[in-house]
């Protein structure tokens, strides 16, 4: 877990709306901002950027951007903002839009290369285009590239991938991960996509009606089954471990963690010995009382039932199981839970249908 390098406290009112938050965010990794439409996510980002005047305080890496008495103007804050509406400058071509911010950053502070950003976001064929002639997704990619080219210390993104198809997202997400990890650039990320969040985020902030209702590191937060998070279909956990061996023939890799090992789809980027993170969704985990090897589910682990809770709907139950020190969540129908007579402490087998490598 990272320490709180970003401290934000804001109070801001609109007719019928009151934002009141006090946040401590880590200085690295991605913080996902989650919540219903109109709960104040955009308003919070605007306050952090200094675009919305609000009483409060904001300190980023020890640098006071806003206190009770001082207010650093937006353009002096080393941040970048990807807006919900892309706001590309209509009078500038795509390439001029991209360099607008970059040119304003001293050359020795530029950490991201123009050509790299263009390549990551697949913009090479669009550089001479005027923004009015772009499709919705193309506009969004240009806006992202323009923002990261300022090499900010803090990147604020308001639903940056909402207009993109799965394929484009898959192409872009690794680069966001790279920004997060290699440039250690903290990102505050508003998204409605639970899978995006589960994949990217290290930290989650859940908002409702202008208030923070929950926040915490992704793994801790996700493994709590009594949690107010309504990730629903995407409830699950994250496991950290190490790649151990490759099965080149079947394109599989063995992932070893504290509590056992699992087989994953092979990934070119990872070699044996590398650390890795996987996500296991509760709905992909089933529970058996004995070991069944004559089936296609091959990731079987012995585990101990830890906690049993009613889930989002009365018909389903969420079970927390421990495989060694590693918690897993399993979602099953309440009837199954009853028929299997599950109770805390019981030894069972967990069958994991699919595992996603997270990084």
């Amino acid at each position: 877990m990272t320490s709180a390098n970003i401290r934000a406290r804001f109070d801001c009112r609109f007719p019928g709306f009151h934002l009141n938050v006090d946040l401590a965010l880590p200085g690295t990794g991605i913080t996902a901002l989650f919540g219903h439409s109109g709960c104040g996510k955009t308003t919070l980002l605007r306050c952090m950027a200094g675009l919305q005047q609000a009483t409060g305080e904001l300190t980023v890496f020890g640098d006071a951007w806003q206190t009770a008495h001082t207010f650093k103007p937006v353009h002096r804050r080393p941040l970048a903002y990807v807006f919900q509406e892309t706001h590309l400058f209509p009078h500038l071509s795509v390439s001029k839009n991209l360099t607008f911010g970059q040119r304003r950053v001293p050359a020795n502070q530029r950490k991201i290369d123009f050509d790299d950003a263009v390549a990551w976001l697949g913009l090479a064929h669009l550089l001479d285009r005027m923004p009015a002639r772009l499709s919705g997704g193309e506009r969004q990619r240009v806006a992202i590239a323009r923002a990261i080219l300022t090499s900010p210390n803090l990147l604020l993104m308001d639903e940056p991938l909402s207009a993109l198809d799965q394929g484009s997202k898959q192409d872009i997400l690794p680069y966001l991960e790279r920004l997060r990890d290699h440039l250690a650039m903290p990102i505050v990320y508003v998204s409605h996509s639970t899978s995006e969040v589960a994949r990217l985020a290290n930290h989650i902030v859940m908002m409702d009606q202008g208030k923070v209702v929950a926040q915490g590191p992704l793994q801790e937060t996700l493994a709590r089954i009594d949690h107010p998070f309504r990730l629903e279909e995407d409830a699950g956990i994250i496991v950290e471990g190490r790649l151990e061996e490759l099965d080149e023939h079947w394109h599989l890799a063995r992932f070893r963690f504290d509590g056992g090992s699992l087989w994953l789809r092979q990934d070119e980027k990872l070699q044996p010995g590398d650390t890795a993170r996987i996500q296991v969704l509760a709905k992909d985990v089933s529970i058996a009382l004995s070991e069944h090897r004559d089936q296609s589910i091959q990731n079987l682990l012995e585990a101990r039932v830890d906690q049993i809770e009613t889930d989002i709907s009365p018909g389903t139950t969420l079970v927390r199981l421990m495989s060694g020190e590693t918690p897993f969540l399993s979602r099953l129908t309440s009837r199954s839970a009853a028929q299997l007579a599950l109770e805390p402490g019981q030894q069972v087998w967990i069958q994991i249908k699919s595992v996603a490598l997270v990084e």
């Binding site: 950027a49 675009l51 353009h75 509406e85 400058f89 009078h91 607008f100 300022t150």
Partner: protein, 225 residues
């Protein structure tokens, strides 16, 4: 006697100077009017439009009183050692600037109004300070407004006449601009010369305007859907 070129040259000089001065002076005024929330905004917007309301000769008359040796502006300029403004070219520029102020400020005001806050906010997050935003976002987005302001101001200064005659005093080589020259010809029944000068002026202006609009149209076609 003066050549024909003298008034032509004087006129162009006056119109260019007036337009330049007004763009420099009018831009901050229009920007303030468009963005400020000050209570004095509407009264000041109205004051800017007022020079339009008075007949030019009458406006010229009051300017003459104000800038003359007994007016307080006149006494001020004299005390600064600048002498008096009426009947000098500088005086004409001052009078034109006042008279044409609304033609510069109004189109700019509208153009600035139409620029979405979003673009300015975006520019700020891209590290552009207030001046930077103004020059690289506001000015290009308000380009149409600047063109209209320049055209109206330039053309109006060329055609202006009442104020000029009053403040300028029709002095050849100093304040006798084209419009006054044409007026002289018409008054003294020299219609042929008047026709020629007018036709020349109209043709010239037409060419300038068409060129301007065409260049502008071409540039715009690329920028917007």
């Amino acid at each position: 006697m003066e050549t024909y070129w003298e008034p032509v040259w004087l006129t162009l000089k006056l119109a260019l100077l007036t337009t330049s001065v007004l763009l420099v002076v009018g831009t901050p005024v229009a920007w303030w009017l468009a963005r400020s929330r000050h209570w004095a905004r509407q009264p000041i917007a109205a004051i800017v439009a007022l020079p339009l309301v008075l007949p030019p000769t009458v406006l010229g008359f009051y300017l003459l009183l104000l800038l003359g040796p007994n007016g307080w502006v006149g006494q001020f300029t004299q005390s600064l050692g600048l002498g008096l403004l009426p009947f000098t070219f500088e005086g004409l520029v001052v009078a034109s600037v006042i008279y044409s102020l609304p033609f510069t400020v109004q189109p700019l005001h509208n153009a600035f109004d139409a620029i979405g806050e979003g673009f300015l906010e975006t520019a700020a997050t891209l590290r552009a300070g207030p001046w930077d935003r103004f020059f690289f976002v506001v000015l290009p987005l308000a380009r149409n407004g600047f063109i209209t302001a320049s055209v109206l101001t330039f053309a109006h200064t060329i055609g202006e006449f009442g104020v000029i005659l009053m403040i300028g005093g029709n002095i050849p080589g100093e304040t006798k601009v084209l419009s006054v020259a044409i007026y002289d010809h018409v008054e003294s029944l020299e219609y042929t010369q008047a026709h020629w000068l007018s036709a020349g002026m109209v043709a010239f202006s037409f060419v300038v305007l068409v060129t301007l609009y065409t260049l502008n149209g071409r540039a715009r076609a690329g920028a917007f859907r």
